[in-house]
């Protein structure tokens, strides 16, 4: 027995991007249905590292990132919980002289974006931040920080539900077509009709893009995180590394979260697990870098599915083939901080047909002649 639902906007994918868009649209007065093939926030939005950072993003992302930056301190008012957001600052370390030059160049070139970056030398790293490992310097962004991805992602979905968004979990969309003046989506026993569809389906968004004649070269990546037992506070800042390899943060309860390696998918590519050689490497790297970790134990690892585009920029913006369809996916492991801003942008696109934040660089058109990921 099929249940028919009509709404102004259908959002496919209840991660942070979809949930924040749904919430914003609802407060603007639209009727919204939010669908997720599983539980909202259980995918990339809930299993990423949790860094809330602008520093290090390419310039085309910075306006969007700054827009999001303004939202994070107001999470409590927006979704009822602060998501354990801490404005701890983000410290990006450099292992070598050339890496330090890269940080210096970034700070210089993008000073106009207002990140207030401060370059730190080796001695100050030890004095101010207790960093004792093999690093030559760093770049500090005081306004950046970190939060709890599980709480934030679930929180936005819960707030959307409270605001009157119809949230359908464990309801995969099995068919999406444009007909007449809108879309018809099939999802389980539901037939959903809406003039506007937002494709925020994360690692599964490329299937929908393909259905509408605009395939994209999306790849799945699997982050690998290590979590320690609760420890006495010793790391007050969110740590990253130029060139990658390690990132670490300590939460208020004392656990240290360390990432930097890739995990492996299981037979079912929707699931993944950290590789043991990867976690062992990260654990050693972390205990070498921070004396506070020397005797600590890891108590759990986690992984998840993220969607990555070849240029590490997301796909955001109207479909190139189908009016009424808007894409927002492929955040390439850097979606957490910008997602609330993306949600606002998507809501503006729906309401006004345009947005005040520049997103041209993220247009799906850039993949028009690029070979898509094989099915």
């Amino acid at each position: 027995m099929t249940r028919r639902i009509d709404a102004d906007v259908a959002v496919i994918g209840g991660g942070l991007v979809g949930s924040s868009a749904a919430l914003r649209l609802r407060t603007m007065g639209f009727s919204v249905v939010l669908l997720d093939k599983g539980f909202c926030g259980a995918q990339a939005s809930g299993v990423n590292y949790g860094g809330v950072r602008r520093q290090g993003r390419p310039p085309e992302q910075l306006p969007l990132s700054q827009r999001s930056h303004a939202i994070w301190p107001h999470l409590k008012a927006l979704i009822g919980i602060d998501g354990e957001f801490l404005r701890s600052g983000h410290l990006k370390l450099a292992r070598t002289g050339p890496d330090m030059s890269t940080l210096e160049a970034y700070a210089t070139h993008f000073a106009c974006f207002g990140l207030d970056l401060e370059l730190i030398g080796h001695n100050q790293l030890r004095e101010r931040f207790g960093i004792t490992g093999n690093v030559v310097g760093g770049s500090f962004c005081p306004g950046d920080g970190h939060a709890n991805p599980r709480l934030v992602a679930s929180g936005f979905a819960a707030a959307a539900r409270c605001a009157g968004v119809k949230v359908l979990e464990n309801t995969p969309v099995t068919g999406a077509v444009r007909n007449g003046d809108g879309f018809t989506l099939e999802a389980g026993e539901v037939m959903l009709k809406a003039p506007v569809v937002i494709n925020s389906a994360g690692a599964w968004a490329d299937a929908f893009a393909r259905d509408f004649g605009e395939p994209v070269p999306l790849q799945r990546t699997y982050p690998s995180m290590v979590v320690t037992e609760p420890l006495d506070p010793f790391l007050g800042v969110n740590i990253g590394m130029e060139g990658g390899g390690i990132y670490a943060r300590q939460v208020a309860r004392g656990n240290v979260i360390v990432g930097g390696e890739r995990a492996q998918p299981l037979t079912d590519p929707d699931y993944s697990r950290p590789r043991s050689d990867g976690v062992l490497a990260i654990m050693r790297r972390a205990s070498d870098l921070f004396s506070g970790l020397r005797h600590a134990h890891a108590i759990r690892f986690w992984s998840g599915t993220e969607a990555t585009m070849p240029d590490n920029n997301p796909v955001i913006g109207p479909s190139s083939t189908t009016s009424g369809l808007i894409h927002a996916f492929g955040f390439s492991g850097a979606g957490f901080q910008i997602a609330p801003g993306v949600g606002d942008v998507l809501a503006e696109l729906v309401r006004d047909g345009k947005t005040s934040t520049p997103i041209e660089a993220f247009s799906i058109r850039r993949f028009k002649n690029v070979a898509a990921t094989p099915v």
């Binding site: 259980a42 679930s154 539900r161 976690v279 972390a286 600590a296």
Partner: protein, 466 residues
């Protein structure tokens, strides 16, 4: 003929020991990993050093079984690759990660027998984190393996046959047992009549234990509810309701447990399919009577797959080894396999009786106060759990963990997950099967960050004969 890697057995309790013996008899050289320094598991746990107590004192009626197993294991010396005091914390595609003394070893294996045993199942109670409150298993281990009593005036509380066994063992050791608080009604014990035919020795022994406890002045209370453990720096009293009125008993130690729960984390990591078992009230790995799991080459034996006791563990361990041999196209004793299966079926019938005579108190989960701590590691209260369930409209236990932190601590849900599951089922009006099972993650126990990796990148164990 190409060399196959050696099989890997996890756990040196009764199931693991019997599995190792059967594989060695067939000419294989299994690797056996166990966390303890000596074999025996928990039920036949050995002291760290000789303490002068006879086996009959330590293991009671099961002393002969214990000694046979310990001697049998000792005879395997040099014929297996035995790794005591080693933690297997991860499994993937035929390679296991094992830590010992701060060094990680990767063991490639062909064939895996999981004999990981069980721990006590508990529900949160007010005051259950007080010093002096141990699980029933913990109270038993203190006595058996460390020669210590958990108090001078001890109360034993909860449900299951272990409740009476441990209380009686303390009595025999000369410790004052103030009371036995049974969550089950006295009437449930009438089910033991059925057991008289199936397993008369067990039933008569149990009756004798209860009688001796009673005659010694120990208060036996049935249908206990509203239990509260009280004290300042340690436990000093236990309050409860039974027989229609309130009671309060002074004590300085409590042994508490509600039947047992299987350690299934490695079965989960090995990719085994699970189902919800109504008798154990838990999600358990699917297992044939042969011990085969849903994954080729992975076998499950003993309480680690379903609670059935030490005798069943011995039979299951040997039976699983025979299945492994058969799957390797090696000769195996078909007649023996059938006999072992008959033993397992018979014991299963006895477990049904025991379950009826010592029923789990399903009604207790409804009475947990908001202030009572649900997750000991993360110190999350039952009230916080209820609030999270409501705020996030939760219906799945992994989502409950994600947003409430329950199960995120060092024990990874060993102590709290069963209770969290009962709570979630109650709050949402769903059943234990549909709220899902807590997914296991590596490391299954805490491992040091500063682990060294062993020099050999992949210790391949080649079986010479096959």
């Amino acid at each position: 003929m190409s060399a196959r890697r050696n099989p890997l057995i996890v756990g040196a309790g009764p199931a693991g020991i019997r599995a190792a013996q059967a594989l060695v008899r067939a000419g294989l050289r299994p690797t056996l990993v166990d966390e303890a320094p000596r074999c025996g598991g928990q039920i036949y746990r050995q002291p760290l050093v000789e303490d002068g107590r006879a086996a009959r004192v330590r293991y009671g009626s099961e002393a002969d079984k214990a000694e046979r197993l310990h001697r049998g294991f000792a005879a395997l010396d040099g014929r297996i690759d035995y790794r005591p005091q080693a933690l297997l914390w991860n499994l993937r595609d035929g390679v296991a990660d094992i830590t010992r003394d701060g060094v990680n070893h990767r063991i490639a294996h062909d064939g895996l027998i999981l004999a990981t045993g069980a721990t006590d199942r508990v529900l949160p109670l007010p005051g259950w984190t007080l010093p002096g409150v141990f699980t029933l298993g913990g109270a038993q281990i203190a006595l058996k393996a460390q020669g210590c009593a958990i108090g001078t005036r001890v109360v034993f509380a909860g449900s299951g046959p272990l409740l009476y066994l441990v209380a009686w063992q303390y009595l025999k050791a000369g410790v004052r047992v103030a009371a036995v608080l049974d969550a089950a009604p006295l009437s449930a014990k009438s089910n033991l009549w059925r057991g008289l035919r199936l397993a008369p020795a067990i039933v008569l022994r149990g009756l004798r234990m209860a009688t001796e406890l009673k005659l010694s002045g120990t208060g036996l209370h049935f249908g206990v509810t509203a239990m509260r453990m009280e004290g300042e720096a340690r436990v000093e009293r236990v309050a409860f309701r039974a027989g229609g009125r309130a009671h309060n008993i002074a004590c300085d130690g409590i042994g508490y447990g509600l039947n047992l729960r299987s350690e299934t984390q490695l079965a989960d990591l090995a990719g085994c399919a699970f189902h919800y078992d109504a008798r154990d009230r838990a999600h358990l790995p699917i297992r044939e009577i042969s011990g085969r799991s849903s994954v080729a080459g992975v076998y499950l034996a003993g309480d680690g797959a379903r609670i059935a006791g030490a005798d069943a563990a011995e039979a299951a361990g040997e039976r699983a080894a025979l299945a492994l041999l058969e799957d390797r196209d090696l000769p195996f004793d078909r007649v023996r396999a059938a006999a072992l299966e008959r033993t397992l079926l018979r014991i299963d019938g006895v477990r049904d009786v025991l379950e009826a005579a010592f029923p789990y108190p399903t009604h207790w989960a409804g009475d947990i106060a908001d202030e009572t701590l649900l997750c000991r590691c993360e110190e999350i209260s039952t009230g916080e759990a209820r609030q999270a369930i409501k705020d996030f409209a939760l219906i799945d236990i992994n989502r409950l963990k994600a947003v409430s932190r329950i199960g995120m601590g060092r024990c990874q849900g060993r102590v709290c997950a069963a209770a969290a599951a009962e709570l979630l089922a109650r709050e949402t009006g769903r059943d234990g099967a549909s709220i899902g099972r807590l997914r296991a993650q590596a490391p299954i126990k805490p491992i040091p960050l500063a682990l060294m990796t062993s020099d050999q990148p992949n210790e391949e164990q080649h079986d010479q004969a096959h």
